[in-house]
Symmetry: C2
Subunit: 549 residues, 2 copies
């Protein structure tokens, strides 16, 4: 019996992780992270709950990576800490993973193995063929997984293009061959299912960029995702044509360029590169900077340039800044803040609303239908998307002619079983999200998040007091300290009144009661809560530290 178990990415964008099982042969496709939701205050990253894999560690044979984006490799260090198995991926993915592991808080010994499109990899009963797909990073692959019950196609993240900058075109023939052979199930990327038609071509983006760069009166700064090697190539090519030199800026951009160059994925002669300091002396029209920061990240070079805090580069009248990227949901406000600041400094700013300076790496509706037509799957499982995307992709599959009962809408943890009789839903395994905060893995739970929310909205008041055990006299305090709000209203400080409230309670309880500290603490917390709400309409956390000596 074949089991397909999504542990992440089916019900959210990000966190992609899928398990394939046949008897004792188990492998994992991708191990991605997700960036925290707004309510996950202070959380650095989110990874999938891997308890299921830990419990089946002895059966897991390998991890297969489709491409190098964080939502596909970001959880890999955490997985490899628990389960030591070989990791297979294409050259660029392996290059990025190597760097990721060396950067990790704990040492990880990893067995990383490079594969190429067209290669076949045997994992127990499984035989996996790697198929080139085009995506917004270089060297992406989909998988044709031969199982004892038939061929399962996992697209990874993909779009379909017919010519490309890096020569990495989705191999429609290979997918068609799968279709010819007969596909048991197609697992396909749902991210852009809400977009009608086809993605625009890389060439048209390139032409737009070239036009904009040629029209720019002075320096040009292009911000994009570091992983978008094809776009970097386009800009390098434009620079070459106009005899300009290129500045590579930002840590992840430098890494991406280095890895891509080493692998021959980027044609970028050393002589064309220029340092930041040199940039200051160069002729304006002869400089193009390629930088990170397109998502408005507050510490990025672009953000520092916009705010006027960058050490080497001052944005000035005549500069042109192109944001050649999309806005990831949640980042819109940070991005528009940078755009506004750049305009204030006199730069001209061009972004997606104004010109087609970006193309998504995820297939639009017509491309998704084409993938179904090519592979002609018996069963269809939409993957990689929020629930609404999965629903829409399922609808699209039905429209395309796949019978409704063979379209399987699974969410994380939901096992899909295949046997001779066909497919059906199996049991639900543990899945979910583990929050990583600093070195803490999973120690930030509901109650901590709740505390952080209250702290962030209303602050905290700490009351400290020392009481004489025998007489009940207050020896020290009450001292009141606040963080996240101030003891102040329009009619004056509320501090004095609050102290009176506390002293009255102490007096009222008196020295005779046995558990007086607990009683005072309880009454004091209640009284202060009411008092703060009444006077300033806030509900800070109240910590009362009362000692008897």
């Amino acid at each position: 019996m074949l089991k397909i178990i999504p542990l992440g990415g089916l019900g959210e964008i990000g966190l992609n992780m899928m398990v394939f099982e046949y008897g004792d042969d188990v492998f994992v496709v991708d191990a991605g992270l997700m960036f925290p939701e707004d309510y996950m205050l202070g959380v650095d990253i989110v990874i999938p709950d891997m308890e299921y894999l830990k419990g089946n560690a002895h059966r897991v044979k390998a991890v297969v990576i489709t491409h190098s984006h964080e939502d596909h490799i970001g959880a890999l260090p955490y997985l490899l800490r628990e389960i030591s198995v070989p990791v297979y991926g294409t050259a660029f993915s392996i290059g990025m993973i190597q760097h990721k592991l060396s950067d990790f808080d704990y040492p990880i010994e990893a067995d990383l193995r490079t594969v190429r499109p067209g290669d076949t990899l045997d994992i127990g009963v499984f035989s996996i063929r790697f198929i080139r797909v085009s995506h917004s990073t270089v060297d992406g692959v989909g998988l044709a997984i031969r199982t004892p019950l038939g061929l399962v196609v996992h697209t990874g993240d993909f779009r379909i293009n017919h010519n490309s900058i890096d020569g990495m075109i989705t191999d429609v023939n290979a997918f068609a061959l799968c279709g010819k052979e007969g596909v048991l199930a197609l697992l396909s990327d749902s991210t852009n299912v809400e977009s009608k038609g086809y993605t625009i071509s890389d060439e048209s983006v390139g032409q737009t960029l070239e036009q904009l760069i040629n029209d720019a009166p002075g320096r040009v700064i292009v911000a994009l995702f570091a992983s978008n090697v094809a776009r970097i190539q386009q800009i390098v090519d434009i620079a070459r044509k106009k005899n300009a030199r290129v500045v590579i800026n930002g840590r992840s951009m430098e890494l991406s360029v280095r890895v891509a160059r080493e692998l021959g994925y980027l044609s970028f002669p050393e002589g064309m590169e220029m340092g930041l300091v040199e940039m200051g002396q160069a002729c304006d029209e002869k400089v193009i900077m390629i930088t990170t920061g397109s998502q408005g990240e507050p510490m990025s070079a672009l953000s520092r340039m916009a705010e006027g805090n960058h050490k080497q580069i001052r944005i000035r009248e005549g500069d042109t800044v192109i944001l050649s990227s999309k806005s990831i949901p949640g980042n819109e406000k940070a991005i528009t803040a940078i755009i506004n600041s750049l305009y204030r400094r006199g730069a001209n700013v061009i972004y997606n609303k104004m010109a087609d300076v970006h193309v998504s790496g995820h297939a639009f509706q017509e491309e998704l239908k084409l993938m179904m037509s090519l592979t002609k799957p018996r069963y269809f499982i939409p993957i990689h998307g929020e629930y609404r995307h999965l629903v829409h992709h399922a609808r699209l599959a039905v429209e395309t002619g796949i019978p409704k009962e063979r379209v399987l809408l699974a969410e994380n943890g939901q096992t899909v079983l295949f046997d001779e009789g066909g497919a059906r839903m199996g049991n639900v395994v543990q899945s979910g999200r583990v929050l990583i905060d600093g070195k803490g893995i999973g120690d930030v739970g509901r109650s901590v998040l709740r505390e952080r929310r209250i702290l962030s909205e209303d602050g905290i008041a700490v009351v400290t007091m020392v009481i004489d055990q025998e007489t009940g006299v207050v020896l020290y305090g009450p001292e009141l300290i606040s963080r996240g709000f101030v003891f102040w209203t329009e009619t004056g400080h509320v501090l004095d009144d609050a102290q009176c409230v506390i002293l009255e309670i102490v007096e009222d309880v008196g020295p005779e009661v046995s558990n007086r500290v607990e009683i005072i603490r309880a009454r004091l917390q209640k009284a202060l809560r009411q008092y703060f709400y009444f006077t300033i309409r806030r509900r800070p956390i109240i910590l009362a530290q009362i000692f008897e000596v």
Copy 2:
């Protein structure tokens, strides 16, 4: 000399407030709020800094309101607390303001005066003519302000339509008459300057809604902005045609419907209305609910229905939910969370990405150009927008033929002066944003926000300890309490180690030192800060309460 002073809305979406001055005659157009940015943790609303008006209170004669949206009236109670002057607005605006003031924390005595389009209002040397504009709420007006130096046109928020549901069509003739007379300056809404072409018509939205509602197999729930009376009318009309009854849901929706009905702006017979309880018993196809919550507000009825927590309504297979609204930037994630939850409950959900179920109330590029053509202004000042919008609107004005030197890009606080010689930039007056948190007006400043941010990301640790003054012996504690993080790592509790760190410091300082409490506190905070960063990579706020008795 005529002075135009923006105090809000020129450099942001929201917070609209504009001052007009000629000698001792001063009036204010709009007094809007803004909802807090992400980093303004715990802040309820943001209002403009009104210090300039307070300092000139004796000269201020009136407030004129263009329409009833919160970003135009939300700061009015705070303004009227400081300056008691008559407020002029159309009937619907005044109705909403009345309610707003009665809801306010403090009693406000207000002199509210209703005007109608075509009316002329004299304020000192100024004479203001109200001109009907179409917008996404009912009863909007622009202003033709006659000054001793010429006519100034303030569009308010507007779009241009040629037929409408509520009969409230932007009065292009009135604006053209201004143009004929000669317009000194046009102040025009920049919100949608990035959108090419024209806004779609209300009719096409109505047709789409009608189609969707007629195709729906069961109950229909339409979520929209409460202020969008014309849209409410469209849905009521659709309901009437199909003999369905309408449920009005949500506090602000009920208010809006009540005020609009009273004024005759909404044709909605009592008999067509249905209560929530009745809805449960009604035939599914004969019920349309109109509700708030289109922005994913966590406490809204729609959100509770999506989460399955609504007392009366359970979402089920066959229900259709239409989000007939845009996503306000910053709300996208909350909205998509609701969409996903509704799908999970089996509802069909329709939103702007899927069908044209909403039209913006702000003019697109061609409409903005039309406004310029109609009014033929000598000077142009883009208003209502982030800086980038103002820049783009200024460019559009230049493209339309207004000479560059007569396009004035002012930001909040920047006085624009007009005299016989023309216009020029004057001095900069105090302006900015005041944060309202509960009853606190302006007491949440930079340092409080900074504390809230740290608290929200890393929490707080409170150390309490009582030391014998003479012997230096620790009588009580050290007690360690945390909020917003836990004393836990993969290798065990860090609490015990932290206590050892503290006790060592106390011992090390010894009893002889005179200011030992301060020394212990300083060393302890430093040591704990390092310790927490080393063990769990976090930087909580550390409060040390040390007492000597």
